[in-house]
């Protein structure tokens, strides 16, 4: 019993344990729900899954189900980001504990009851609990914002190497701005969501394209989903920056830019409602340019640091281009977290800009179905890239080392990039192939995407199995990671009966 308690404490109180549980939960949901669409449906796996698990897939409720599924996965990802932030950013222990606890209760409640409501009969008590979970996640955000308030005197950082304003830590301020923007944007979606059942009907944003007159509530939902994903990306960039101990000139330039970008981008997204699109898009473009610029500076700093540290390890003082490149690629886990940010531009940013510029000339001439594909592909890739960065960062936290670390890192990078690249080609295929002749392009791109994603999932599964096996070991990694959060090994041993209470008292 004590052994279970100690492991339970690791899984639900330590930063690494909490992240492990959330990744495992999302992986489980992805694996199970992935059977219901795409190639799994084509291969007949869906029918088997429906029979086996009793999924209730009422055709009229598909959009509602998908909205809830997206929210449950998003809550898991938000919880992971919260754990990462509380693990990296100084705050009082009681704040860290209460924020993490709230996030855990929130995402698990929304995930369990949201999916139960959406896919296993319409039990409205479950729907209420799902909303309760979302509300707890909002409360978590409030706690986080309070803990991150940058004007706190006890967390000033006047170190000249880092961005600060009269001692106020600007990185903390950027995280605070992100948290407040996220809370406001959550309210933005919640207000619209609260109107369901009062004449406002469930929809997927991609199904609204080309409607000349969208309602305010529809605009609010469209704005909500865009900004929430963008803010998750901002949060992750700041987390990765802290992991790299980002500092120096680029840090000092980037933090104000990141704050400005986050604020403008969020304001632009909110402005979509009163402005009904139009000029609000210009505001969003301006804000996201700032954010992308800060991201670029992070990548420049991080790549330089990776190269510098590796060359120092090798004792190379003046490196050739190839030695520099080799040093950059030496550790795929660290390299990958930043490379994925670069790669995102090829699959989403550049594609998005091209589509916006040529919208009427090219994309609005296509059937709406083809234009819709770009939208769904676009944001699935963006979500996927965020997931792979989290995964790579977690691999480092979990202690992957040596050859296994390299295999894991390159598998995730190459597998996901092949998949995202293939999906980008797939969604843009009408540019170079007609509907009549598209089947080979569809087959090849989908095959590459499936293989790529399968590789990533296998790598993820291997990581999860490794950590699961570790949990059964008495002196596994989990014990050390638990100790890192102040829950000492002695205490763990005591709970397991390895040391008597009297010995501990001595």
């Amino acid at each position: 019993m004590q052994a279970i308690q100690a492991r339970f404490k690791f899984l639900f109180q330590s930063t690494k344990g909490l992240i492990l549980v959330a990744i495992a939960a999302i992986a489980l949901v992805t694996a199970l729900w992935g059977m219901l669409s795409g190639p799994m449906a084509e291969w007949g796996v869906r029918e088997v899954a429906v029979d086996l698990f009793g999924f209730d897939l009422d055709p009229a409720e598909r959009e509602g189900r998908i909205v809830i599924l997206y929210h449950t996965i998003a809550m898991g990802v938000v919880a992971i980001l919260v754990y990462m932030i509380t693990g990296l950013i100084p705050m009082k222990e009681h704040e860290r504990v209460s924020i993490n606890f709230s996030a855990t209760v929130g995402y698990i409640t929304s995930m369990v009851f949201g999916l139960a409501f959406a896919y296993f009969g319409r039990n409205w008590a479950f729907h209420g609990l799902y909303l309760l979970g979302l509300s707890i996640m909002f409360f978590t955000g409030v706690l986080l914002a309070v803990a991150l308030r940058p004007w706190r005197k006890d967390y000033r950082n006047p170190d000249p190497a880092y961005a600060h304003l009269r001692g106020m830590n600007l990185e903390r301020a950027a995280l605070f701005v992100m948290s407040v923007a996220t809370l406001g944007s959550a309210v933005f979606g919640a207000v619209a969501g609260a109107s369901y059942g009062n004449g406002f009907e469930t929809f997927l944003a991609e199904d609204l394209i080309r409607w000349p007159d969208k309602t305010d509530l529809q605009f609010a939902i469209v704005g909500h989903l865009h900004i929430m994903l963008a803010l998750m990306a901002v949060a992750l960039a700041l987390v990765i920056g802290r992991w790299f101990d980002w500092k120096g000139t680029l840090h000092k330039i980037s933090m104000p830019i990141m704050m400005l970008g986050t604020t403008v981008m969020t304001a632009g997204t909110w402005a979509v409602v009163p402005m009904h699109g139009g000029a609000a898009h210009t505001i969003i473009y301006a804000g996201s340019t700032f954010v992308l610029l800060a991201g670029l500076f992070l990548v420049i700093f991080g790549f330089s640091k990776i190269i510098r540290e590796r060359l120092a390890e090798q004792g190379i003082k003046k490196a050739s281009f190839w030695q520099g490149l080799k040093a950059l690629l030496h550790d795929p886990v660290r390299f990958g977290t930043l490379w994925q940010m670069v790669y995102m531009n090829f699959c989403t940013s550049f594609v998005g800009i091209f589509v916006a510029v040529k919208l009427d000339e090219i994309f609005r001439v296509w059937p709406s179905r083809d234009e819709r594909l770009i939208l769904t592909g676009h944001w699935h890739i963006l979500s996927g890239i965020i997931a792979t960065i989290i995964l790579l960062y977690y691999a480092d936290m979990a202690g992957l080392k040596g050859r296994v670390r390299k295999v894991f890192g390159w598998t995730v990078i190459l597998g996901s990039d092949a998949a995202f690249g293939a999906v980008t080609v797939f969604e843009m295929k009408r540019l170079f192939v007609s509907e009549l002749n598209q089947q080979p392009v569809t087959d090849i791109t989908m095959l590459i995407a499936d293989i790529g994603l399968a590789l990533v999932l296998v790598a993820l599964a291997a990581l999860m199995v490794w950590r699961l096996v570790d949990l059964f070991e008495r002196d596994g990694r989990w014990r050390k990671e638990l100790a890192e959060t102040g829950y000492t090994e002695v205490e763990a041993d005591t709970r397991e009966g390895l040391i008597s209470a009297q010995e501990l008292a001595k």
């Binding site: 084509e42 009229a60 598909r62 709406s368 509907e435 089947q439």
Partner: protein
């Protein structure tokens, strides 16, 4: 060595994916469903859209039991070209017809649809199922009773009006598809692979061309077994066939502030959720493609 084997396996899979064969002449299948038949839809209330909004159509109307077929469309082109209702462009690569134009509102993304002659049918577009010998249109062998494709909205409208009908409004189309009980598919609440022709539905016409498949003869899903392939009888409550899948169907509504026209029913190239009776896509009215067809409605008085 292992890496090489892995790469070879990947290449083999990619090449296998590339090997989608060209569609040859399809098997000639008589479904027994008459493309000349019409079904009557009585006046009254029905549930429209995904959220079942009570909607009233206060008149009886008739709608074609199947899509317009290649044979029917060829016959129309020959007749209407002969009597001058429609015409060729100068090099006979396009069939054109008059359209009185739409009101232009100058709305964002809206394109002008002015009065004049518009494309009805692209004669030499790759994939069209009609042959033209310089004088007469004839359907390709085996495709006579398949739905006419590559017909623009203007072409579909011209066809229907030529025979005294019109394109169905979205409401007329949906009521004809689902009846009055709010069902999501024309035949009921669930979809099986042999209910309709959709993406990866594994019908015999997917063989050789891949999962997006080919058109199936109109009325194919009528419970018959064709060369070992068993279909489920899948009519709508009013006895219409192919109201889900095969090819999308133009509807007649012209909406303010946009030039797009809406299509219903899903197609051979779509996943099954696009076959739900309320699902729609939209395209400019001069679009012609391999997954787009139509059927007509007519007023009961005209029919009698």
């Amino acid at each position: 060595m292992k890496v090489k084997l892995f790469l070879i396996a990947i290449m083999a899979l990619v090449l296998a994916a590339c090997s989608a064969a060209e569609a040859g002449e399809p098997p000639v299948i008589e479904t027994g469903v008459d493309p000349e038949a019409w079904a009557r839809v009585p006046a009254g209330e029905f549930l429209m859209g995904q959220f079942d909004h009570p909607t009233v159509i206060d008149y009886d109307y008739e709608i074609m039991v199947t899509h317009v077929t290649n044979a029917q469309f060829a016959e129309f082109l020959n007749a209407a070209l002969a009597d001058g209702t429609i015409r060729f462009n100068e090099d006979k690569t396009e069939v054109l017809g008059y359209y009185p134009g739409d009101e232009f509102h100058g709305y964002r993304h809206e394109e002008r649809i002015d009065e004049g002659d518009w494309l009805l049918f692209p004669v030499d577009e790759e994939g069209v199922r009609l042959e033209f010998d310089g004088e007469t249109f004839t359907p390709l062998a085996g495709y006579e009773n398949h739905p006419a494709t590559f017909v623009t909205w203007f072409g579909a409208r011209a066809y229907c009006e030529y025979y005294g009908g019109r394109l169905p409004s979205e409401a007329e189309w949906e009521k004809a598809a689902r009846g009055t009980d709010g069902r999501p598919y024309p035949w009921g609440g669930e979809i099986e692979r042999n209910n309709a022709n959709f993406y990866s539905s594994r019908d015999p016409f997917e063989e050789g061309v891949g999962k997006q498949g080919d058109t199936t003869p109109v009325g194919f899903y009528n419970g018959k077994t064709y060369d070992g392939y068993e279909t489920i009888d899948s009519p709508s409550p009013y006895g219409l066939y192919d109201m889900a899948g095969n090819v999308w169907q133009w509807t007649g509504n012209v909406y303010d502030k946009q030039h797009y026209r809406y299509l219903r029913g899903g197609s051979k190239g779509e996943y099954e959720h696009w076959l739900r009776v309320w699902a729609s896509i939209n395209i400019a009215p001069d679009f012609a493609g391999p997954s787009v067809g139509f059927r007509c409605v007519r007023d009961v008085a005209a029919a009698e």
